[in-house]
Symmetry: C2
Subunit: 264 residues, 2 copies
């Protein structure tokens, strides 16, 4: 087998660190880390045993491919500074699409890992689904090969599909986490530690395997218990934002449940 290709990782945040680590583990060679801050760039470069720069002008142009794993807002600026027009380049954003590349690059695409990446969390990248949108067959083939070397689940998408997957991920991850944030805030107010909710949260997650989520719903809304919902709403009067969320989520559960059971 040929030695694996080399890459430059642009970005030194959570996605960049996890993805670069996964690529290096699959024997791709990290040539350089390009970061905004010296400390983050150096830290990732040290981990990868490679060099780093904080200047887009100093990007190594000898790599086989370029990974742009920066904040969505920063992608256009990074791309306009990249002087590697004939090389494969892809970004990792679930919400920016392929149009951001314009006509500047001959082989480019989106390489979206469906996961929440945090510093200091070890995770098995093989379990991270990868969605690929590409500028053409050549880019698609190259990106898919890379993807398959680091993940078990690789799937082609277009921008519209990718946006929907990203929105679903926002609900499944970010909004779920926000429900934990609210729950923590509410129990902390009464001097009850958040840890008390962990067995409940664990079971809510573990149940998921045993059926579609709608079939696993419990609580006042799915029981159609409007009296309790009203009591809870009143109890949340000092938290108008939580009250709003409580109201709309409960309404939606009630409605979906009516639809599913055919009761009006």
């Amino acid at each position: 087998m040929d030695p694996r290709q080399s890459f430059v990782i642009i970005g030194a945040g959570n996605v960049a660190s996890h993805l670069a680590g996964a690529l290096a583990s699959a024997a791709y060679r990290p040539l350089q880390v390009v970061g905004r801050s010296t400390s983050a760039a150096k830290e990732l470069a040290d981990t990868l045993d490679t060099t780093y720069t904080v200047s887009l002008n100093e990007i190594n142009t000898q790599a086989d491919f370029y990974v742009v794993a920066v904040n969505d807002d920063a992608i256009p600026k990074v791309l306009s500074g990249l002087k590697i027009n004939d090389k494969l380049v892809f970004h990792t954003s679930g919400s920016t699409g392929i149009s951001v590349f314009g006509n500047k690059f001959t082989r480019c695409g989106v390489f979206y890992p469906l996961q929440t990446f945090s510093k200091n969390r070890v995770l098995d990248f093989h379990e991270v689904p990868l969605f690929i949108e590409s500028s053409g067959p050549e880019a698609y083939e190259a990106m898919t090969e890379i993807a398959k070397n680091i993940s078990r689940y690789v799937r082609p998408v277009d921008s519209a599909l990718l946006e929907k997957i990203h929105i679903a991920a926002v609900f499944a991850c970010n909004f779920t986490n926000h429900m934990y944030v609210i729950a923590e805030d509410l129990v902390n107010e009464i001097q009850v530690p958040f840890e008390i909710l962990l067995p409940l949260i664990r079971e809510t997650f573990l149940k998921l395997g045993s059926g579609p989520p709608a079939s696993l719903q419990t609580g006042p809304a799915v029981r159609g218990d409007v009296k309790i919902i009203e009591k809870h709403r009143k109890s949340l009067e000092n938290h108008p934002e939580y009250q709003k969320i409580y109201t709309f989520v409960s309404q939606n559960i009630l409605e979906l449940h009516k639809k599913n059971t055919g009761n009006e």
Copy 2:
């Protein structure tokens, strides 16, 4: 040690089944199951190796304590039919409070297990936090002894506190599950299986141990990425209910994050 006390379980649903099972495992003796439907009552009675009835008039009056684990709406009716005024009786609702007992019972209370109970799910009841509200010291002592025999975490509460814990549980469990319901609906629309989201959901849950939930938030809202939030909102136009939830939860994340970081 004396042989454990006997009990009657009123209700044959998820909470009743799990709690009666935990009591029986701790060597409390199930005297009788009282159910609304013959099939459910018989099924639970068989599991507990005891008798059952579907009539409140036939409740065995010889038990040491009575557990009312029925829907909130049914509690008053069950209590008015109970002719065991001098015995310990408690219900398991997190949202009904102790006032429902009126003056009829000398020893009564609320025995709230903070967990989501589903049929056919095996769970370790020792990990289920139990909250106790009681009519007086005698009931409190008896209920606490029972609670400590089946759970590691037992805590006295009053009705106001219990309601807050219950609301927090609704966010942490029911609303979290509803986020999964919405995510599933969105990916199914584009013929992507829900399973693709499971690694993300798993990681969102597993991360919880490593810090307060607010510190673990990721995604467009916590990054303050209003452009992407607007795109997502637009993309949800065909789902006005999801759009509303998306908007209010995102706003709340944005606001909390501003408050925490001091950026306005």
